[in-house]
């Protein structure tokens, strides 16, 4: 449980972090809350030569209301999100999601930026980010750009981030009605299935994590939705469902339907 040797650099601005990342390339890793990166380093599954700590960069840990959206700095911790009145009032589904993550220690350190960049297929936020049609705001050596949630997740631990890019914030539209439901894996308490449902006029947007190697929008459910929960049947239509020791394809598919149904009925 001892990482291999690495250099530690504390970045004081986004541009410094981005430049460092550009300079060190593959050998470098961004560190925010450290609750995914450090365990991997301790197991020596990840051996960066340079660790660039973005934890202290001013301005990355604020939550602000901007018109019909809420912008959450990448370094905001899960606990900050859970405690925020702005989020409670405007994107309560995100508060519900944060409440299901880990335990107090994890929530006090882990960040939304870190979780999204890490893209663990069983992480919770991705479902909600997808259902909310949130925007990931990133900065790179050529400036900043916005990535739609639906374009962001590309596979297991894989995102649309370029090598020199970091997440600086996530923009959520205000969501009046939505909910997040999760079936906990009994050991890790990550999501075996996590379902975010956002009601949008007469329609619905459904984000699902834990089920496939990439979190996805359950478009077949959204299309079939006609006000009741029968559309839940389509939760895994066209999806290659993951299988592991806790949930095989049959059971995981069943759970996805059960949790979409819960979400649609809530």
């Amino acid at each position: 449980m001892i990482p291999s040797k690495f250099n530690y650099i504390k970045a004081s601005s986004v541009s410094e972090a981005v430049n460092l990342l550009d300079e060190h390339g593959f050998d470098a890793k961004i560190l925010s809350g450290g609750h995914s990166l450090i365990p991997a380093m301790k197991l020596r599954l990840n051996r960066p030569e340079v660790v660039i700590d973005i934890g202290g960069i001013p301005g990355l840990d604020v939550i602000t209301e901007e018109g019909d959206a809420v912008v959450i700095g990448a370094n905001c911790t899960h606990q900050q999100i859970l405690n925020s009145q702005v989020i409670y009032k405007n994107v309560n589904i995100l508060k519900q999601t944060a409440a299901t993550i880990g335990d107090v220690q994890v929530r006090n350190k882990g960040t939304i930026g870190g979780s999204l960049a890490h893209a663990d297929p069983s992480a919770d936020y991705p479902a909600t980010v997808l259902a909310c049609d949130a925007t990931i705001i990133v900065a790179g050596k050529n400036g900043s750009r916005n990535i739609a949630a639906t374009d962001f997740f590309q596979g297991i631990f894989t995102t649309a981030l370029e090598d020199d890019e970091i997440i600086t914030a996530v923009r959520f539209p205000k969501i009046a009605h939505g909910n997040y439901h999760k079936f906990y894996q009994s050991a890790s308490r990550f999501a075996v299935v996590g379902v975010a449902v956002v009601f949008d006029g007469s329609g619905v947007k459904v984000g699902i994590t834990g089920v496939a190697d990439t979190p996805y929008r359950a478009t077949k459910v959204e299309e079939a939705y006609n006000g009741d929960s029968s559309a839940a049947e389509h939760a895994v239509d066209g999806v290659e469902v993951m299988s592991d020791h806790f949930a095989d394809v049959e059971y995981r598919s069943h759970l996805a339907k059960v949790f979409v149904k819960k979400g649609l009925e809530a």
């Binding site: 449980m1 001892i2 291999s4 040797k5 197991l43 020596r44 079936f183 009994s186 050991a187 890790s188 990550f190 020791h245 806790f246 949930a247 095989d248 049959e250 059971y251 069943h254 759970l255 059960v258």
Partner: protein, 786 residues
Amino acid sequence: MEKFIGKSVKRREDARFLKGAGKYTDDIKLPKMTQSAFVRSPYAHAKILSVDISEAEKAEGVVAVFTAQDGCGEYGVPCGWQVDFKNGETMREPQHPLLAKEKIRHLGEAVAIVIAESLELARDAAELVEVEYEELPAVTDPKKAMEEGAPLVHDQWPDNAAFDWCIGNDRADVEAALATAHHVTEVEYHNQRLAPNAMEPRSYIADYDVNADKWTLYTSTQNPHLIRLLLCAFALGIPEHKVRVVSYDVGGGFGSKIYHYTEEALLTWASKEIGRPIKWTSDRSEAFLTDAHGRDHVVHSRMGFDKDGKIVAHLTDEFCGLGAYLSTFAPAVPTYLHGTLFQGVYTTPLIHLNVTAPFTHTVAVDAYRGAGRPEATYLLERIISKGAQEMNMDPTEIRLKNFIPPFDGVEQPGYQTQVALQYDSGNYHGVLKRGLEMLGYEDFRKEQKEARENGRLLGVGFSTYIEGCGIAPSAVVGALGARAGLYEVGQVRVQPTGKVSVYTGAHSHGQGHETVFAQFVADKLGIPMDDVEIEHGDTEQVAFGMGTYGSRSLAVGGSAIVKSIEKILEKGAKIAAHKLEAAEGDLEYAEGKWTVKGTDKSVSFGDVSLTAYVPHDYPEGLEPGLDFSSFYDPTNFTYPFGTHIAVVEVDPDTGKVDLKRFVACDDVGNVMNPMIVDGQIQGGVAQGVGQALLEEVVYDEGGQMITGSYMDYAMPRADDLPMIETDRTVTPCPHNPLGVKGAGEAGAIGSTPAVVNAVVDALAHLGVTDLQMPLTPQRVWKAMQN
């Protein structure tokens, strides 16, 4: 004088534990101490083609790198029990090398040790050791290990069996009774493999002192003297009187810290080679791979009943995995600690258990909280509940029908079982009756019925267990294959000022000996608890000892102390008689003083103590001093028993089990400290619930561990458990001076089948009669679909 026995005295040791001031092995830092890291096999079964340490030796800060080629401990670590084959063939006992030589036999087996100036440098250098392996097919399932053509763990034998064994009545008689039984209930399952998960991982420091030519081994063990004996007499062949083994605070053991591990012996050997102290502390990943596991029994069993539900016969065949090498107690666990409990609390007239114990390509399996007894209890309590379900009987009725009638072991004799043991005393009806009151059984059945009508799945499960504790009469266990005695040592040293130091060979790794032992010593001597100090865990302080496991500390270790107290009081009376100028026979001892009966003439314990050490005016011919040591060898095991009841609700959508209530009525004999007994029961129940619902070590076909971290190995957490409702009946043990039976394992033994029975009960109307542990939501949901 305040009395302490029976009171919930707060634990003395907790002050230091709660403040983080405990002294665990890893907290110890010695001058010039080095650190170490192991190179471990990534395969379960492989040939070692070559080991290249040249780069590692050159690495920064490296002091030494050793492999099997360096001649470390040519004997290997020994096994402490011998169970021979039924046909008389001697138990197959492979050498367990300190470092693997030609072959790897389980995942994580050590190939080399790297010793360096810091842990970081040791770990870095360990990565530079190049080992070339040729991977071979592995077998990890005990039943498959006995199939024709299974990969062999040890090539020198024709199959994987280490031994086979049976107990009970003649198999043919049992078969015959089953053939004519009114009803036969059958179960087949795997009592799954568990990882012990003590909070403190194993940790050792070996320190060879060149000038004194002496070794000190600091080790997180449950039995320092036993480790010294095994280390000196077997593993390394070094003189026992030149080795000190110290085990200060230990953060939990649950059995896994009984055994003598290869790392302990290797560090001790290597410390002399380099002339410096060496530390090794397991990390959690290594703990999963290398701590001895528990359980792993593949079971097939049939129980026959007459038309009234009386058990007529019970026949069982088991494959019990031992792992790649025989750990210290391993052969005893699926045999003498297991088969001897097949009578349970029932009058079953015919019992036969047949065990085949194979080697597998896994880490060793040995005693884990309960050790063989949870496996026996699980089988009995499952099969009897299943029998009741099949015969449409109430699970409590079938138990009441079959219980052994109450006996106290004094007026009524002990109960002779069909499986070698004689129970000391028991009242099984009593605990079930009290448990049912605590539960409110009739109300529950009404609630269950209503709930079912509303689509809710509620269930209740029972378990009435017995276990054999207070391990153990030496002659008996010797006849059963133990290579050691299982007495205990207790020394009571009265200091000149009347303060008392007690040295016990038992070892506390969470139990609370420092408190409980002081409670009864204070009462027996009639002195304040503050005047009593309990010392343990250092072979240079404590004369000898066999350590703590098998719920033996109070029953055996406590009894040894009582014997010494008796000797103290006997000698004290001689001194008191001299001082009081009275005849010894005219004195009585109470409240910390000797009084001449019928007078107010008395002399205090303190005065007598001082006189013993300042013997100016002293009985002629009497030795000075007041210090006695005793060995206590019990005349029988002790037999705690109890009823555990679980109430569960199953989520019909997901199969997830919610444990709503847990009722435990245990009888552990006399109780010294109710709070500590409650704590032991609660902790044990948590572990038993863990087995029922959550925990399982899974190896894949190739012998890789799928559950090698807390990401995949599910431990019970506070929110998995309801408040555990405890109560007790008291049936004293008739054969030890404190009347105690032991409480350390009861919770883990009784609880598991209660939970599984409850889940089956919740689903019974859907036709579910069996479930494989752990009852993961997936398994439960699938059972509901069929």
